[in-house]
Symmetry: C2
Subunit: 329 residues, 2 copies
């Protein structure tokens, strides 16, 4: 079969389509003819040798996919040949065929195009994991949240879930992405390049701070995050894009405000964890997708022959929402 | 009435007994003739002007008490004059009389002496809050925990609760307190003055680290704690006795291991929070006190005329478990 290949020796070599062996589904997996996949920052890291795929996962890029079931493992009971599914995989999405555990696969509703379905798994599951599991928010409430990188994939999913839950949403994003964040429901948009988010958060919350923060930045935002969080607030760190080595941290504020800080990732979790997350996500989110309260956010669709261009586009932070690869044959 | 008074202008002035006005119970409070109270590190901080009592609380020292109800507020339904109760208060325990909210009061079982009952509230409620609420451990399990300052009040309560839950307990303590920690059930005792706890924890857990850490030390232990915690581990910081200002923190390990760090205190929480905690604590712990699986740990009882000596004793870290003041008249 064909797949997008990256040169692990030289990450600067452009991505290109080549021939590899078609995967064989194990007893709990289905083989999918992939229709579309989507980009993640992890793909850029993996390509640069900084994020090796978990043990047992395909070495081909691609953490999510949508497609048609063409073969089922011998213990598979949920799907049959011809069904359309989408979901999270440990790797292998940038290919004509890929395998997915049956409990990780989600039935694709007919109201989604392939491109829309491909835009859902990684960012909505991560946002759901953070909001529901780590923060413990599962009911409508009037709490406040600050979502950094609000126009990113996870950011745009988190904005929508928090608004569906009735929350007050602050986001940081570059100026040109503000109207996009507002269209998703963000209440307060902050231009991180020209404004001080700590100052704005405190002003707009009568100095109380926000109850939750989702951060991807790490080092550069740590102190401002601690100053922006309310008493009993919770911060989740999903990445550390500005670096991870802090030179000065004051635990006194953490103690006084009783702050909880959690480092979190999705890909490194066990299969059981991801299966349970997928199951709860389906129950939580699919009715809201059906009613239109949640929407997959497709920024741009690239034919997979232009995978290299798609990577450059993500590298340059040009996207608002997801970048999709359409698998054209 | 008489009460132990501290000089807020000059903390070096010894504590002494003096005359103050007897408190009047509000509608949800009972007035208690205090039989015993207990010391907390917060008392030393409050005396030094570093830990002001919460709004509305008595300015007299003393965060816990046991005694006999002598008057009830007009809405009180749970207690009547003559009942014996113990529990947590915002202040005022070092006195002949004190008020306590009826939902914060716990009926004193006859199998406890006053001194034993006075040794329970602050340390067992804090340990329960940390283990049950923050860590979310509510059932028997085989997880591991590192409890720093294992011979302290909270430490000795936490060891017992974790052992009652079936856990594997590591503690740090000075050498002379090791046998005490072992008598409470600690499985691995580490001499923090002469041994490297990180090295021992990793050795004894096949390099996996422990699932939970309770820390009071802060700065000096931060990096070692992060190195000693397992993937998906949780750390609670209850104090920062070695200081709060860290000069170097690496968030990469927090992210990779998906660690959760929570700053926590008990006294600063809302009354509703403390009432709920007390209610759940009674259900969780009282059967285990009755069966002897949990035991209040009284180190030494001082007559309240020697309150100053008792403070010196705590200041010198001489105690294993709780220091009690007996209110002798």
């Amino acid at each position: 079969m064909k797949a997008v290949l990256h040169n692990t020796e030289n990450p600067n070599q452009p991505l290109k389509i080549g021939e590899v062996e078609k995967p064989i589904p194990s007893e709990n997996e289905v083989l999918v003819k992939v229709k579309a996949t989507a980009l993640n920052r992890a793909d850029l890291l993996q390509r640069a040798g900084k994020y090796p795929p978990p043990k047992g996962a395909s070495k081909i890029l691609g953490l999510e996919l949508v497609g048609e079931v063409v073969e089922v493992g011998k213990n598979v009971t949920r799907y049959k040949v011809g069904d359309e599914v989408f979901g999270l995989v440990g790797g292998g999405g940038y290919a004509q065929f890929a395998v997915i555990d049956e409990k990780m696969a989600i039935p694709k509703p007919s109201f989604f195009s392939y491109e829309q379905a491909a835009a859902i798994p990684e960012v909505f599951l991560t946002a759901f994991q953070t909001i529901s599991w780590t923060f413990g928010i599962n009911e409508k409430n009037s709490k406040s949240i600050l979502i950094h990188a609000g126009a990113s994939g996870v950011g745009s999913a988190a904005i929508q879930i928090c608004k569906a839950l009735g929350m007050r949403v602050f986001v940081t994003a570059s100026k040109e992405k503000h109207s996009f964040c507002q269209s998703l429901g963000a209440d307060v948009v902050i231009d991180y390049q020209n404004e001080d988010f700590e100052k704005i958060v405190l002003e707009k919350t009568e100095d109380k701070g926000v109850n939750y923060i989702i951060d991807f930045i790490g080092k550069d935002y740590w102190n401002q995050n601690i100053n922006s969080i309310a008493t009993d607030g919770k911060i989740v760190l999903l990445a550390a894009m500005s670096g991870a080595k802090l030179e000065s941290v004051n635990l006194a504020k953490l103690l006084m405000k009783r702050v909880q800080v959690t480092g979190s990732t999705l890909r490194s979790r066990s299969l059981e964890y991801q299966q349970k997350l997928t199951k709860e996500f389906i129950e939580f989110a699919m009715p809201w997708f059906e009613s239109g309260e949640l929407k997959p956010v497709v920024d741009k669709v690239f034919d997979w022959n232009f995978a290299e261009k798609a990577h450059q586009y993500m590298q340059n932070n040009q996207n608002k929402g997801k970048i999709i690869l359409s698998i054209s044959e």
